[in-house]
């Protein structure tokens, strides 16, 4: 249904109806901003990058051959835009917090622990080499779907699997003793 609507809008845009592009923007703005946010972890920058991606998608609409699902092509174009932008202006990597978190006792403390965990993971992820970071970002964005992540990045599935494995190992090492998940925290 979504793909039919996309194909219809693409056809209309290519026939000269610019306003038909709005349908594509409305359907895909959420996922594209979210994907950009996973790359940048900054809402403002994510929206700027998603705008840039939509503009590129509009310019290159005639290059979509209509063979696969429209969203596969759309995510591949957006991923390229985000990766290029991050190469031009890399993420600001904040110094890692080396304080191990203590087990939480109350809801407020648990919230604080959860926020700290997310911040620690964000910093560790931002500090990874681009190839591992990109594989992890796309894998989790596509809800752990390796074929979808491989199409978005334009690399074979085996490469994604290898990068995921290495990236997760590097993350584990960087986060060791620093992050306590709820299960671990409650168990102590």
């Amino acid at each position: 249904m979504g793909d039919e609507a996309d194909r219809d809008d693409v056809r209309r845009v290519l026939d000269g109806d610019v306003e038909a592009f709005e349908g594509i923007v409305r359907r895909w703005q959420g996922p594209l901003v979210n994907l950009a946010w996973r790359f940048t972890r900054d809402r403002g920058r994510a929206e700027d990058l998603a705008q840039e991606a939509f503009l590129k998608i509009y310019r290159n609409l005639a290059h979509w051959r209509g063979e696969g699902v429209f969203s596969t092509w759309l995510f591949a174009v957006a991923t390229n835009v985000y990766r290029s932008a991050l190469r031009r202006t890399p993420l600001l990597t904040l110094p890692e917090d080396h304080t191990a978190l203590l087990p939480a006792e109350t809801d407020l403390e648990r919230d604080a622990v959860a926020r700290d965990e997310q911040a620690a993971v964000r910093r560790a992820l931002a500090a990874l080499p681009a190839r591992y970071r990109e594989a992890l970002v796309l894998f989790y964005f596509h809800e752990m779907d390796i074929p979808a992540a491989s199409k978005s990045l334009g690399v074979p599935e085996g490469t994604i699997k290898a990068r995921l494995s290495r990236g997760r190992e590097m993350l584990r090492q960087r986060l060791a003793g620093r992050v306590l998940g709820p299960a671990t925290a409650e168990g102590r």
Binding site: G30, V33, G181
Partner: protein, 116 residues
């Protein structure tokens, strides 16, 4: 750290969808893009034609002018079999005349403001 913990942390919570202001901003850019005149393509065909004719003229210059200047095929720049071919001089002369005519037509067109 266990795999499921890492999955939970990396999956994170998605952002809420951007609002109508985002759609409006994207569509404003798209409309601007659609209204802008398409870029003028680089005239590769004309460039290729000009370069080919110029190359022919250079060969013509060597063949026609070198003997007159007292150089007989300097440093063997042109193969002797080519220099002795009967068709060479008329062909080069015709090309040179055509090129000169085309060039003067283009220059006239440029200065008179029309597009040939």
């Amino acid at each position: 750290m266990r795999d499921d913990e890492l999955d939970r942390l990396l999956a994170g919570t998605p952002l809420p969808d951007p609002g109508p202001a985002f759609t409006w901003a994207v569509m404003a850019q798209v409309r601007r893009e659609a209204a802008a005149p398409s870029p003028i393509p680089f005239p590769w065909r004309r460039l290729a034609l000009g370069l080919s004719l110029s190359a022919v003229l250079v060969v013509f210059g060597i063949v026609a002018l070198a003997p007159a200047a007292g150089f007989d095929n300097p440093a063997g720049a042109v193969p002797r079999s080519l220099l002795e071919a009967a068709w060479l001089r008329p062909a080069l002369l015709t090309t040179a005349v055509l090129f000169a005519s085309w060039l003067s037509l283009r220059v006239t067109a440029i200065f008179s403001g029309s597009r040939a």
